[in-house]
């Protein structure tokens, strides 16, 4: 365990070195992330200039849900978001290098691709949440913060597990697949109140691709809404299950993996 921590720190050191070479990239990335979030908030503000509520949700509540969503998203983007896995590890064969080393392959891949600066998004998320709350009256009990931290980890695990599952598919086929953007777009559904969607979509977001657990269910609990209380409490469990499924699929995929060459 201790050796893993020191390994993580070594990866982190290397990462910081490579980032310092291109420090303007970092700033540009941060500003364009900020812009992207601003566009989403502008959208929320504009739609609420034409209505006072969205299927029962006020502007403050929808902003709060979005702000909460940004926090698990930031963790996911820092440690699990690997868009180029198929291209880099399968087609160009870097996975072979990984497999010769004595650390779990998934851990290596994740550590090689982490972008810890994305954690700055946590601050954005908290600021947006506070902004949303300023128009609301929310009772914060002493345990709410603890639950929130638990929920965030559940949400990160949902996102991470699904992403690992998708990377595992690449282990079986070296043809290019483009599922990741699809999952990203489905994930976006989870940052709005799910009761605006068709019943079928709600079922998919809860039980098949459980993105509603990343943003909406936990956030609605923190907003003192009773209707989704039980589902919110399921968040850590759902996260753990999805993550576990992802890891099992990865391990099976690695055993099956034959390399792209011949």
């Amino acid at each position: 365990m201790l050796s893993l921590v020191s390994l993580f720190l070594e990866y982190l050191k290397q990462y910081i070195k490579t980032r310092l070479v291109y420090r303007w990239d970092f700033l540009a990335q941060f500003i364009s992330d900020l812009l992207f979030q601003a566009v989403n908030l502008i959208f929320i503000l504009v739609i609420f200039s034409h209505t006072t509520q969205l299927k029962g949700w006020t502007q403050g509540e929808v902003i709060f849900i979005y702000g909460y969503f940004l926090i698990p998203w930031a963790f996911f983007a820092s440690f699990f978001n690997i868009w180029t896995f198929n291209d880099r590890y399968i087609i160009r064969g870097e996975l072979d290098r990984i497999l010769t080393r004595p650390v779990h392959s998934l851990l290596q891949v994740l550590m090689e691709n982490m972008t810890p600066e994305s954690l700055l998004g946590v601050i954005n998320g908290i600021v947006v949440m506070i902004w949303g709350m300023s128009a609301l009256e929310i009772e914060w009990a002493w345990y709410d913060l603890l639950l929130m931290i638990l929920f965030i980890f559940g949400g990160v695990a949902v996102y991470g597990g699904i992403n690992i599952l998708l990377m595992s598919i690449s282990l079986y086929t070296d043809s290019k697949n483009d599922i990741q953007p699809i999952i990203f777009n489905i994930g976006n559904y989870g940052r709005y109140p799910v009761n605006i969607y068709h019943r079928l979509i709600q079922i998919v977001l809860t039980w098949i691709l459980p993105f509603a657990f990343v943003g909406f269910y936990p956030a609605s609990f923190l907003l003192d809404q009773q209707a989704w209380r039980e589902l919110a409490f399921l968040t850590p469990l759902v996260g753990l299950s999805v993550l576990l499924i992802g890891i099992v699929c990865w391990n099976r995929g690695i055993r099956h993996y034959r390399g792209a060459g011949n």
Binding site: S32, V39, I42, I47, L54, D178, Y189, H198
Partner: protein, 264 residues
């Protein structure tokens, strides 16, 4: 000379055809985006039949038409030009007997035609089966839409060329490219139809070229613009097509001079 560019369009079209698997996922992505915005706007309308002069059905149609139009006009020309500059391939491109920027525009037309035939058209038919949208029956309004959509395509190509050429002057341009992509979707009316913006924002947007990319073509189809309002929409688009030529040509001339310096 024209034959060269037609050939470029044809080759790009065939190239896209070879990578068509890539585009099945694109169809799903666009459908997902249409879905989320459909439900959001549906919730905004609630019981109301009409907001800002648009009925709920017109709004649903507008969302479907803008996204499927975006599938046609969207391209990564700015990224491609930036990559060719960074990797130095642009020097090879420049010694070839054609106009680099025109070739780039022709390539994007080949790509656009592919997406129009295999993506936008079938996509719109599928969406019209799933969501309660109302497309006008075949007639002159579709011809007007086609003209307006083509002009919107041209303006988008010009904006991309302008941003691509601008990358000559910045060492780091990834941020610029990403910011531009997000902003164009917001300001062109893909995410929010222009009449739904507050009035001060509408006033600013009317002086920018972005609404001519997406909002004007889509509203031409959805509301069936005719007579004076259609002429006005096309007029705005034509003006932007002409106006945008100027900064592109000027910056391109300067960029070509600077490039010899880069080559050492």
């Amino acid at each position: 000379m024209l034959r060269v560019y037609l050939e470029v369009i044809r080759i790009r079209f065939l190239m896209m055809l070879a990578y068509r698997v890539y585009y099945y996922s694109g169809v799903i992505n666009y459908s997902l985006n249409i879905g989320v915005y459909y439900f959001l706007w549906n919730a905004v309308y609630g019981g109301a039949t009409s907001l800002n002069g648009m009925t709920a059905v017109q709004m649903a149609t507008y969302i479907a038409v803008t996204w499927m139009s975006r599938a046609f006009y969207f391209n990564n020309l700015d990224y491609e030009i930036a990559a060719e500059i960074r990797e130095g391939q642009v020097a090879v491109q420049l010694i070839r007997p054609y106009q680099y920027l025109l070739v780039k525009a022709a390539e994007s037309l080949g790509e656009g035609l592919f997406r129009l035939l295999l993506f936008s058209a079938p996509g719109l038919i599928i969406v019209s089966l799933v969501l309660p949208i109302q497309l006008p029956s075949f007639g002159s309004v579709w011809m007007k839409f086609a003209l307006s959509l083509f002009l919107g395509f041209l303006i988008n190509v010009q904006v991309n060329l302008l941003i691509g050429v601008l990358t000559f002057f910045f060492l780091n341009n990834q941020g610029l490219l990403r910011a531009k992509r997000v902003l164009v979707d917001l300001l062109s009316g893909v995410v929010i139809p222009i009449p739904f913006y507050p009035e001060w924002a509408q006033a600013i947007l009317s002086f920018l070229p972005f609404q001519a990319i997406s909002y004007l073509p889509s509203i031409t189809l959805v509301k069936g613009l005719d007579g004076e309002s259609f002429i006005q929409a096309i007029g705005i688009q034509l003006i932007w097509v002409l106006v945008l030529c100027l900064p592109i040509l000027v910056l391109w001339a300067i960029a070509k001079k600077r490039m010899t310096v880069q080559g050492g």
